[in-house]
Amino acid sequence: MDSNMYNKILIKNGSIVDAQKGNIYRGDLYIKDGIIEDIKDVIEIDNKDITIIDAGGLTIMAGLVDMHVHLRDPGLEDRETIESGARAALAGGITSMVCMPNTSPVLDSPSLIKYVIDRGKNTGCSIYPVAAMTAGLEGKNITGMGLLSEAGAIGFSDDGKAVADSKLMFEIMRYSKQFGKPLILHEEVRSFSEHGLMHEGKYSTKLGLEGISRLSDDLMIGRDIVLAGVSGARIHITHISTSGAVEMIRKAKTDGIDITCDVTAHHLFFNDSHLESFDTNLKVKPPIRDVRDQKALIEGVADGTIDAIVSDHAPHLDTGKNTTFKLAEFGTIGLETLLAASYTILCRNKKQGFEKVARLLGSGPAEIVGIDGGIIRKGMRADIAVADLEAGYTVKKEDFRSRSKNSAFIGQKLYGKIIYTISNGKIVYESGLN
C-alpha cells in the first residue's frame, strides 16, 4: 500500500462534534497533508489516491486530550514506555497527552524534559511533559522552572504528593507566575492518608480496610485556594474526589481565583460500594469515594465547575496488583477506556449532552495546559477520533494495548468504541487491526 494514500482522507456521513460551539452536525470532512482541508455538508472528490471512511452512524470528534498520564519512562519501562503508552492512547482516541514527572529519575531537569519530548516524537501521539515543582518531588527545593519551561515543560506538578510546606508552596505559586504555566496540584494531607487504603466511610468500616478521610483532600485544597488568592497563581487541582472539593472550587471560581480542575473517569464511574469485591484495581489515590461524592462530581461536570476529564493512567505490574489489598499499589490504567467510561456514565446513564463531555476530553484540558488540540475546524491540525458511541462491549484484560493491564474497568460493560484515530492527518489506529 502506498503510504501517500494516507495523506488524503475523506470522512463521509459522520456526526461531527463541535465541542467549542456545543453542537453536533452531520457532514463530511476532508483531510490533506495533515490539515483539516474542508468541512461541508457534502464533499465529493474524484481521486484514486484517497482513503474514504464511511462514517455513517459514527461520531467524529477532535482527538482526545488527556492531561494526566503516567508513562513510567524513564525508569520503570517494564510497566509502560512512552511508545507503549502512545499505542494505548491512540487506541483510546487520544492524540495528545500530558505526562507526569514522577518517573525514575524524576523529570526535574531540562535534559529529562527533552528526553521525553524526543521519545514522544514519531509515536503518532503528541506528548507534553510536566516538570516537577520541587527537586526529586521531595517537597524541599523549588525546581528551575524557567529552564524547564524553555526545555518544553508545559506545567509543573509534584503529582503523587502534595507539597506539605505551606511557605514553600506559596513561593512556588508566586514564582510560577513569571512563566505563565499552570501548577497541577495533587492534594493530600499525609497524616490523614498515610495508612489508608480506601475512602473512609461505611464500606471501609464494613470491609476492615483503613480509611482515607475526605479531609485529606479538602484541607489541602482549601489551603491552596487561599494561597492562590494571595499569590494570584494559576492553579489546577487534579483528580478531585470529594463533594467538598467541587463546592470549594465552584466558589473559588466565582471569587475570581485563577483555578481549574479535573476529575478521573473512574471517580465518575465508581463509588466505594464497588470495593466490596476487594478488587485491587480499584485501589487508587485519591480513593474512590461514596455515592454522594460521585453525584457531586457528576454535577460538577454538568454545571461547568469541572474543566477536564482525565485517565490518571497509572500502569502497574501484575505483581503489584495480584496481591493483598493492603500491599497492592495505588492506581488504574485508563487511556483505552477514557472515552467509553466517560460516555457510559455521563451520557448513557446521566443523560448529559455528548458535546459537553467531548469538550472536557478535548479543548477543555488543551486550554488549561496551553496546547493545540481538541478543536475540529478548517485549517487546524487533523487530530481526530471516529467513534461508535452505541457500540457496547465488556472490558477484558487481554484486550489492552498498554504494557500493564491493571484496569479498574475489567468486567464492566461500556459503550463507546474508537473505530479510527487520526493523528496529524494519518490513520494511526483502526479498530480490529493492531
Binding site: 473512609e200 480509611g211 476487594f278 505483581t319 495480584n322 489489598f325
Partner: protein, 306 residues
C-alpha cells in the same frame, strides 16, 4: 450442608445455616464430654491450617475440632518473612492444593485476603480471621455461648466495649448478633470508632450501659500498636472502658461478660474479676467461649465436609 461452600464472612450465612451450626454443635458438645473424645465422621479427609499470622487459640481450636472428627490436620506454618508479597500467597496455595486437601482454614493479617484465596481454590475455605475484616467462627462460638445462658436471642441487649476500629471480632459479632434480633451498641471513644458509624449506637463510657445490658462484650485493646498514639493512657481507659468488680456488681441479674481472649489483665478486665485459676464470678464466660468454640468448629467442619 450450608448454603455456600466457604465461610468467609457472617453475611454468607443464612438464619437456617446459623440454626444448623448451633444444633450440630450441641451434639458435638456431648462428644467432647466423653472419655473417648473422637468420632470417625471425617476419617480420610485432610484439613489444612494455613496461618499467615500468629495464633494460638484459634489454630489450636480448629486442630482439636478436626482431630476429634478423625480428619487429618496439617499445620502449615507460613513464616511472615518469606511471605511478604501476595504472589507468594498464591504460590503457597498452589502447593497446598497440589497435595489434594479437602478444606483450608486460613488466617491472614490483611483484610480481603481470604476472599482472594477462596476465589482461587476449588476446595472450601474457612476464614479464621482476615485483617480487620471478619472472624466469622468467633462470632458463631460467641453466639453459641450466649445461647447457653439465654432462652432466646431476640431483644437481648449487647454492648461491645473498646477498640471497634481494628476489631474483626466486633465486625463479625455485630453483624451476626443484629441478624439474630439482638440490640447491639458500642462503647468506645472517638478515636477507636470509624468516622462513619451511622449504623451503630455509640456510648462513650461503660457506665452509660452497664446497668441495662444482657451481654457485655469486652474487646482487646493493644496499646503497643503504633497507631494507638491517639488514645491517652491505660488510666484513661480504666476510667471509662474497663470492667472491675464495682461495675460488675451493677450489672443485671443473669447478665454475662465475654471476651475473645487473650485478656489484657488490668486493661479490659481487672485482675480481681479475672481471678487466679478461674473467675470468682459465674457470669464471666471466657472459658465457656473456648470450650464451645471447639464444638462450633467441629460443627462447621462436619457441615461442610460431612
Amino acid at each position: 450442608m450450608l448454603n455456600k461452600k466457604s465461610i468467609l464472612r457472617i453475611d454468607d450465612l443464612t438464619l437456617d445455616d446459623v440454626a444448623k451450626v448451633m444444633e450440630t454443635a450441641d451434639s458435638f458438645t456431648s462428644i467432647s464430654k466423653r472419655e473417648i473424645k473422637k468420632v470417625p465422621t471425617l476419617r480420610g479427609k485432610t484439613v489444612v491450617n494455613l496461618f499467615f499470622e500468629p495464633s494460638t487459640r484459634t489454630k489450636t481450636s480448629f486442630e482439636v475440632a478436626a482431630k476429634r472428627l478423625s480428619a487429618d490436620m496439617i499445620n502449615f506454618a507460613a513464616s511472615s518473612s518469606s511471605l511478604k508479597k501476595g504472589e507468594s500467597i498464591m504460590d503457597t496455595l498452589r502447593t497446598i492444593l497440589a497435595m489434594q486437601v479437602n478444606l483450608i482454614v486460613i488466617r491472614h493479617s490483611d483484610s480481603g485476603t481470604v476472599k482472594m484465596v477462596d476465589d482461587n481454590t476449588p476446595v472450601p475455605v474457612i476464614n479464621a480471621g482476615d485483617g480487620k475484616h471478619q472472624h466469622p467462627t468467633q462470632a458463631l462460638l460467641d453466639l453459641y455461648a450466649i445461647r447457653s445462658r439465654f432462652e432466646k436471642f431476640e431483644g437481648l441487649r449487647v454492648a461491645f466495649v473498646g477498640d471497634f476500629l481494628d476489631s474483626r471480632v466486633a465486625r463479625s459479632g455485630t453483624r451476626l448478633f443484629e441478624k439474630m434480633g439482638m440490640d447491639v451498641s458500642l462503647v468506645a471513644p472517638s478515636m477507636l470508632i470509624p468516622e462513619d458509624h451511622s449504623d451503630l449506637n455509640v456510648y462513650s463510657s461503660i457506665d452509660d450501659v452497664i446497668e441495662d445490658i444482657d451481654v457485655l462484650y469486652m474487646l482487646r485493646m493493644q496499646f503497643e500498636r503504633q497507631d494507638r498514639k491517639f488514645y491517652p493512657s491505660v488510666r484513661e481507659y480504666n476510667r471509662f472502658l474497663s470492667l472491675d468488680s464495682k461495675r460488675l456488681a451493677r450489672m443485671k441479674k443473669n447478665s454475662i461478660v465475654m471476651h475473645p481472649g487473650p485478656v489484657n489483665r488490668g486493661i479490659e478486665i481487672s485482675d480481681e474479676v479475672m481471678g487466679d485459676r478461674e473467675s470468682p464470678y459465674d457470669n464471666i464466660l471466657i472459658e465457656e467461649q473456648v470450650t464451645g468454640g471447639v464444638a462450633v468448629r467441629m460443627a462447621l467442619l462436619y457441615l461442610i465436609l460431612g
